[in-house]
């Protein structure tokens, strides 16, 4: 394309993007169409990718297409395999896409659609995509080393230790919160519980199909599993209407929590690959399909957003979670804008598949843009709901009251009209007894998604099927993360304990397997139980804790990235990682301060403990007080970790920039690629 035409095209994209952002930012009063959000996102990503990522690739990282990657140099047909860039892109996206970008924006929608949307766009382009891109490239240049190893080598022992503790913390807190989301979605829902229970025999069937009938034909088995899961969703309707089945599958939150804890332990300690591997495939299949379906649904329906741009809860009094926009919107959105966890994927499997350095831009930066788009779709799914319905679903009973009429009156008094009849009618439409007090984001997202799907395909009559499809998708997805995460945590603990006493590190020694599994499951199970018993719904306390630990890991990743950039002699360009790092530090420090010391009992753990202490002295109260104090300690430990790694990194930067230390980059030596342009794809 001629240069002139290219310039005109990019000017048009810029103008369109500005128009879309201005429209969503200044429009007040009448509801706006969701396509404005889609347009703002697409234009922002296009500009960010074309200009900012290209600048980073050319000036900061100086990508070299002639340098052989570890996939080429160390090719072994197993871990290191040169792979087509589009295939790696799909693989990387499937690995980074989790429930975070779906749940976080739904919870943050309590502030209105504007804060979440702006942060998802700006955060992704300037922070999340940059982090994923630079860490991927640095790992490629270090033979596919992991983040923790890079932290240890480039920053120092403290860096490595902090990265290790951050990974363990985030795994434990994430699993606790994820399990709580499933519990809140399935409690008192025979339909949902039946469907999820059926995924266990379905996974076994898939396992047998793969093992005995058609070895290795995973796609076939996944399609078969998907058809069976769809049948299970229809079966769930029968289960909810049949009195005996309904009684069996109607479970309370504590019962579900106990079942999930037992499941997590079994998945970690027993050799149940016949169940877990097929379910993992099924979950990925459903995940990718549903994300694609939601994108098509939004484009086909072009729904109207009923949530205002900003709600009154920007003042910090929100029912979903307490706290002002800054810092809590940024902590809550998490993975849709920046996720420390992505740095683990970018320094895991992906760098071992890349054919040439220049592809890291498309895979690292590009896949995070796709993840960010998922967060925008989640914002749309939440904001198409009438605000009264959204708050009815997401507000805990401790805030709005137990009785439907009282809850509806409370929400209406906030300026979001809803009646008990409205809530009953929507619950009936989706085949549930009630939708009150369904905190955690998943049910609200499922109702929004069902709304979009039902209006696109099938109408109101299939709303209940779509709702339970969405619940199945989220629960299946989260349970897969639970079992995989528990095993990863177990291996990490075993690796660490192996340094103390060798047998503890042996992954085949049963006492060690049982002990470490119990330790990991006990840790996240504790957070889950705490959330289930919390009268404020648990999400209010636990999601911010998860957000803080996730951003802490991103802080570690950005410290590693900045240190390497400084060592490369590119101090002038260190701002590309230093600015997001400074932002994350300000967000995590402020959020942690508020979570520990804020005098408002709905925000500060210590204030809440204090409030309970002056109340009646019951055993329940003393447990809640202990939980609050423990949460405060966990938050404090996380902040000490951030401070340590920041200090060690800053000292390293100063030493190098003042010439007191020679910059010693631990890159693999340059080897000229032998792959032809065609082989590189």
């Amino acid at each position: 394309m001629p240069k002139f035409l290219r310039s005109v095209l990019w000017i048009a994209v810029t103008l369109l993007g500005v128009l879309a952002v201005v429209t969503i930012a200044v429009h007040r009063g009448e509801p706006i169409n969701a396509m404005w959000l889609v347009m703002a996102a697409l234009c922002t990503y296009a500009l960010g990718y074309r200009f900012y990522s290209k600048f980073i690739a050319a000036r900061v990282l100086t990508l070299d297409s002639l340098r052989a990657t570890p996939a080429e140099r160390l090719e072994d047909g197993r871990d290191f395999v040169p792979t087509n860039k589009w295939v790696v892109f799909g693989h990387h996206f499937a690995a980074i896409a989790g429930p975070g970008p779906l749940v976080g924006p739904v919870l943050a929608a309590q502030f209105g659609y504007l804060p979440g949307t702006l942060w998802v766009l700006a955060g992704a382009v300037f922070a999340g995509c940059v982090q994923d891109f630079v860490i991927l490239l640095f790992s490629v240049r270090r033979d596919g080393q992991s983040l923790t190893k890079m932290a240890k080598q480039e920053i120092g022992r403290v860096g490595g230790f902090v990265a290790y503790v951050a990974v363990i913390s985030i795994i434990v807190i994430l699993l606790g919160v994820a399990a709580l989301i499933v519990v809140n979605a399935l409690k008192s829902s025979p339909w949902g519980t039946f469907t999820i229970a059926m995924t266990i025999p379905i996974a076994f069937l898939m396992g047998l199909y793969l093992r005995r009938l058609r070895p290795g034909k995973v796609l076939e088995a996944s399609v078969l599993g998907f058809i069976l899961v769809m049948l299970a969703i229809f079966g769930g309707q029968w289960a909810s209407l049949n009195p005996t089945a309904a009684r069996i599958f109607t479970l309370s939150a504590p019962t579900l929590a106990v079942l999930i804890i037992i499941y997590g332990f079994a998945a970690s300690a027993l050799p149940v690959w016949l169940l877990l591997a097929p379910r993992d495939y099924l979950s990925t299949f459903v995940k990718l399909g549903t994300i694609a379906l939601l994108a098509l649904g939004i484009i086909a329906l072009r729904p109207t957003l009923h949530m205002p741009a900003l709600t009154r809860f920007v003042d910090g009094t929100g029912p979903v979670f307490a706290g002002k926009i800054f810092p809590f919107a940024f902590i809550t959105i998490a993975c849709g804008a920046i996720s420390g966890f992505h740095a683990l994927i970018s320094s895991g499997t992906t760098p071992k598949l890349i054919c040439r350095e220049t592809e890291t831009r498309m895979i690292g930066y590009g896949a995070m843009m796709a993840e960010s788009m998922v967060a925008i779709m989640a914002t749309i799914a939440a904001c198409v709901l009438q605000p009264g319905i959204y708050f009815g679903i997401n507000s805990p009973a401790g805030i709005v009251g137990q009785a439907p009429e009282v809850a509806a009156a409370t929400i209406t008094s906030w300026g979001f009209p809803v009646t008990a009849a409205d809530m009953h009618s929507i619950a009936q439409a989706v085949g549930e007894q009630t939708l009150y007090n369904r905190t955690g984001g998943a049910p609200a997202f499922a109702v929004g998604m069902a709304n979009i799907f039902a209006h696109t395909l099938g109408g109101q009559t299939v709303m209940a099927i779509w709702y339970h499809f969405a619940i199945m998708f989220e629960a299946l997805f989260i349970l897969t993360i639970l079992d995989a995460g528990t095993r990863v945590g177990r291996f990490m603990v075993q690796d660490a304990l192996g340094h103390i006493w060798k047998p503890l590190g042996r992954t085949s020694w049963y006492p060690s397997i049982l002990g470490t599994s119990a330790l990991i499951v006990g840790s996240w199970g504790y957070f889950l139980w705490q959330g289930v018993k919390d009268p404020l719904g648990g999400i209010n306390s636990l999601w911010p804790l998860f957000g803080i630990s996730n951003q802490l890991l991103a802080t570690v990743a950005l410290c590693v990235a900045t240190t390497i950039i400084v060592k490369m002699g590119k101090q002038a360009y260190a701002f590309v990682t230093l600015v997001p790092l400074a932002w994350l530090v300000s967000v995590t420090f402020t959020a942690s301060y508020h979570k520990v010391f804020d005098p408002n009992p709905r925000i500060g753990f210590l204030a809440h403990a204090q409030q309970l202490a002056v109340g009646a002295a019951t055993s329940d109260n003393s447990k809640l007080i202990f939980n609050d104090r423990l949460d405060a300690v966990v938050t404090g430990v996380l902040i000490v970790m951030v401070s340590l790694i920041l200090l060690e990194s800053a000292l390293e930067w100063i030493r190098i920039m003042t010439g007191r230390k020679t910059a010693d980059i631990k890159e693999a030596p340059f080897v000229m690629t032998r792959l032809t342009a065609e082989e590189q794809g």
Partner: protein, 76 residues
């Protein structure tokens, strides 16, 4: 003024190019799915170990794969 033959050739070329783009896209999509769902990894395993696909070979592959996958964190 282009002759009918020239127009026909042009249209045929464009159609062939479009079919080729669709074909490439579909084969990439297939390759992507095969990689995500470990079918490619299984094929590489069979090649590496000079085995034919069988329930036993798949059993060995699954065990090997499970050991590697268990250590990979899953994203949030």
């Amino acid at each position: 003024m282009k002759s009918k033959a020239q127009i026909f050739a042009y249209v045929t070329n464009r159609a062939a190019a479009a079919v080729s783009v669709v074909g490439t896209t579909l084969s990439l999509l297939r390759a992507m799915l095969r990689e995500i769902f470990d079918e490619s990894a299984y094929a590489r395993f069979l090649t590496r170990n000079r085995l034919a696909s069988s329930p036993d070979a798949y059993g060995v592959f699954v065990r090997e794969q499970a050991a590697a996958k268990s250590r990979r964190p899953r994203c949030c």
